[in-house]
Symmetry: C2
Subunit: 335 residues, 2 copies
């Protein structure tokens, strides 16, 4: 299965991404990565791996040459038009045009990846607005999908109903039967919310989805819901506040520990507990966020991706393709 990887535009450069791709190839023998980016940089990186020793055929990797890069500072739509030879545009065009490429991962500029998905790759038939759908960690380890997490700032009620259906298809493709949908609001009562969510509430009630009703942000990570539906502005605030708060709590605990010698002594014995916590909250290990509703599988990996997150995002795309997610989304929207 061929999946294209946009090798440029991330914070940590192509080498760590290549390490993750190599690791993913060891895990999934059917995976054939296509790397988009400057061949003169990528070839020497690939030369360093122990292909034969690790029993991975180098012939499974293809490089698609692309000489420039879209930066975070570039205007997304301008850059897509002007930088036709960028790794991102070359990758998306190959994804669109080549029948043998089924999905794509990019850790590049978020705005350009989202715009490229919508404008170059195109929407699935009937999709009003593709939506970004990262999975946040929950206490029980199942994870919860937030859709939309930032692709659409101003939304109409029908968009959010489609977000719910696409999110349900996505979580369904990960083995969850009848995913539990929550509408992010300011209280659990039916009438709580703003004009948008009140309309969406009525529509979701009649959607045939497993809609549990309104939910509050304090229950986002509780494990009571599999899909949280919201507009992209609110979803973005939610995921970033989760990230910021988790970071602050850990930082405050560290400060507390460093200010006391008995606590420092105790921390020695708690090292593994801290590591397990970090593992549980680590978004790198969770892969990336798919843009749901475009014609093929497209995963936006974190801009600060390391080898672990590149591997996870690639395997995530692999599993989404294997589960035929775009077809499942089409089927859910038609219901």
């Amino acid at each position: 299965m061929k999946i294209i990887f946009d090798m440029f535009g991330s914070d940590n450069g192509p080498e760590v991404l290549a390490q993750g791709i190599f690791a993913a190839m060891r895990r999934e023998k059917g995976l054939e990565p296509v790397l988009a980016g400057d061949k003169e940089i990528l070839s020497p990186i690939l030369d360093k791996f122990e292909w034969d020793k690790q029993d991975v055929a180098r012939a499974r990797v293809e490089i698609l040459d692309a000489k420039t890069v879209i930066a975070n500072e570039d205007s997304p739509t301008m850059a897509l038009k002007q930088k036709k030879d960028s790794s991102l545009v070359v990758a998306i065009n190959a994804l669109k045009e080549r029948d043998d490429i089924h999905g794509m991962v990019s850790a590049g500029a978020t705005g350009a990846v989202l715009s490229g998905g919508v404008l170059l790759l195109g929407r699935l038939e009937g999709v009003l607005r593709p939506a970004l759908a990262p999975i946040l960690p929950t206490a029980d380890g199942r994870g919860v999908c937030v859709v939309d997490a930032g692709a659409n700032m101003d939304c109409r009620p029908e968009y959010l109903v489609q977000f719910a259906k696409m999110g349900a298809a996505y979580m369904g493709s990960r083995g969850m039967e009848s995913p539990r949908i929550g509408l992010l609001s300011v209280g659990v009562e039916d009438k709580k919310g703003n004009e948008l969510t009140k309309e969406v509430f009525s529509l979701l009630k009649e959607s045939g989805l497993n809609f549990l009703g309104n939910m509050e942000a304090r229950d986002a990570l509780s494990g009571k819901f599999d899909v949280l539906v919201c507009d992209g502005f609110v979803g973005n605030v939610l995921i970033k506040s989760v990230e910021g708060t988790a970071g602050l709590v850990v930082k405050m605990l560290k400060q507390s520990i460093m200010s006391s010698s008995s606590a420092k002594f105790g921390a020695l014995f708690m090292k593994k507990a801290f590591e397990r916590l970090r593992g549980g909250m680590d978004y790198h290990a969770g892969g990336g966020a798919p843009l749901l509703g475009v014609k093929k599988v497209l995963v936006k990996a974190h801009g600060s991706s390391n080898a672990v997150s590149a591997e996870a995002a690639l395997l995530q795309a692999y599993n989404m393709i294997a589960a035929r997610l775009p077809e499942k989304i089409l089927a859910n929207l038609a219901k």
Copy 2:
């Protein structure tokens, strides 16, 4: 200084509130609490305190009899009309009518407190929409005020500009010179955001406030900002996700500790570090959330208030009155 305390409608009952009030009276000798609620319940509670032993004159406390209670399940506007003898309505009416009462605290039903503030007490002249303004803890201990945190679901740009001015007056009254204002958005770039925030951005640029620009939710608790401006729906999502995430991280750490005997041993030595962390994140110790923009000081304490939070909320109201906050808000709005 007389401040009225709505003694009923909170989760933990009037006794813990009374304990907090007694503690506040010991701290501030000029504080004269007026307790609204059923006299037959409140008098025996007051009888239990060691007034003379602790050198607190019982004559400083007044009870305003009120026989019923507004519950969380009641429709706020209906309840305000029908339950004229509720502790909340009696309290707000006394606040409005009596010149000797300068502020109020309630730990009762949020919707009813907010509606009561707007409909019964009334807005300051020129205020378009009063707004709820809790202070979240930051790493540096200064705290950050989120306004609006849930009083106004659907907002026009002018409302948010006033939220910024009222929040600046509030943080100014707490000793912060030229409070740093951030507009909650999805990125730090000037053009990021939804239709509402884009308009607000332009207006704040010209407001004369110390406006630092757009900020992301991940920086909400960073200490880089003193006032975060947003609509009440988004603000409510923000504060509840901070609360939920902090709770989850602590829970996950506890689980990690309990699953390992060496970590359990280590935790013994870290007990104080955990306690300091809890102290830092404890919203009980921070008091309540004021409703900014109404005619007198009105503080909504947490529904699950204990003695510590009741004391903190009462002292907070005391300080807001001493700083003449309503006048400061009027002055800021006129600028």
